[in-house]
Amino acid sequence: MNKKTNISDSELIEAICASGTLEQAIVQLYEDHGTITRSFIMGKGGTEQDAEDIFQETIVSFIDTVQKGKFRQESGIRTFLISISKNLWYNEIRRRQRAGNREKLYVADFEPGDAILDDVIGNRELKQLLSQMLNDLGESCKKILELFYYENLSMKEIVSHMHYENEQVVRNKKYKCLQQLTDKMKQDPDTAKQINELIF
């Protein structure tokens, strides 16, 4: 995963946005930028596993930013990825400090990112909590929601994809799943508090 390919940043952005080429784009991100970004984390006291996890999260955040049309391409992809990784890692160090872990600190050169970066990184712990809640809904709920909200499939396509009786069944199931997820968010006091702080 050390080689740098000839694919330009613009081509990579296109691959992330186009349907059916995201997986290839992820491979490219790993191959082109994985080593240097993970080396950065390991150079700042992270373990190999930390570096792997932070880079994975970095790619998720980057793809989300690109797909929302928020990546301005003012900086290169590598610079942007390193910035995300850096901030994610410093946030993680702070979290571990709060948890009482006595780890070597590498936050001296931490500088708050710009508005986009802050938005991209967001609240890591909250995201992880919400992700867990979604997983707790079960595979069928998760699948329907993903197919509709991420893959942008129509109700008709979801019916054929998941072998439901008709579109109305899927529609009802989707409403129900979404409602369950928001209920979980509201019911957990810590999560609700964090969400309220974030939203209001």
Partner: protein, 251 residues
């Protein structure tokens, strides 16, 4: 039947409502905190779904890449290490052989070895053809070195030829100092049609080496080596420069 509020909010986010219905929802959200709160939670839930889907794809790719990177046949790293070790062994053997060769060369090369390799008895008859016979020449041909030296001592006029034959006889008897002096006489008498000059240069160089005058001997040999027309060039060109360096080092 009127649709529940939460379903309307979902339809609003799914862009399933007409412009009028959208306006109604937007008005409601602006004036109803609970509705605004519900809408914010729904947006967050959808955002969670999106991020989760992306993460799932990234994890899948990461796992496949890790499988490609790490799931190598177990014998491969061993093979690489084995190859590496074999190459190291071969390299070590070469280094050892090279060092042994250098050591052997250093030990075996000496003034004596160069002399032994380079000294060939001077053949008078071969060189001069039908010359008038004289006692010294006759004695030399008969390899009677002591007689040559005695006759030379009785000579009133010492020519380059008599000097050279006496010098060669001294060389044959391993009297290197005496030989050197006599060769010097030939070299200092270049006026005599340059006779025996080139022969004297070559054998004098060898005499220098045996007298431990390495600098002079090597200097003279290099002079011959630089002159391709020199009579003894073919002989001297066979002497390795490394050998001469070793002799210099051992000095």
């Amino acid at each position: 039947m009127k649709q529940p509020k939460s379903d309307l909010l979902v339809d609003y986010l799914d862009e399933k409502l007409s412009p009028e219905e959208r306006s109604e929802i937007e008005y409601m959200v602006q004036h109803d905190t609970n509705a605004a709160n519900d809408l914010a939670y729904l947006k967050l839930a959808i955002e969670t779904v999106r991020l989760n889907a992306i993460a799932r794809k990234v994890i899948t790719v990461r796992q496949s890449l890790n499988a490609t990177t790490y799931a190598l046949p177990p014998t491969k790293p061993v093979a690489v290490r084995h190859m590496f070790r074999t190459n190291l062994r071969i390299a070590a053997v070469f280094v050892l052989l090279f060092c042994s060769a250098v050591l052997y060369k250093y030990i075996s090369v000496s003034n004596q070895s160069v002399y032994k390799n380079q000294f060939i008895p001077y053949e008078l008859s071969n060189m001069r053809g039908t010359e008038n016979r004289n006692p010294e020449a006759e004695a030399y041909r008969n390899k009677n070195w002591n007689l040559v030296i005695d006759l030379y001592g009785n000579d009133k006029v010492k020519s380059n030829k008599s000097n050279f034959l006496a010098a060669m006889s001294e060389l044959q008897l391993s009297h290197y100092t005496e030989a050197e002096i006599l060769f010097q006489k030939v070299l200092n008498n270049a006026s005599e049609n340059n006779s025996f000059q080139e022969e004297a240069e070559y054998y004098c160089a060898l005499a220098y080496l045996m007298n431990h005058k390495e600098a002079k001997g090597i200097g003279m040999l290099n002079k011959i080596k630089s002159d391709t027309s020199h009579r003894y060039y073919p002989m001297v060109s066979k002497i390795s420069g490394i050998d001469l360096k070793i002799i210099e080092l051992k000095k």
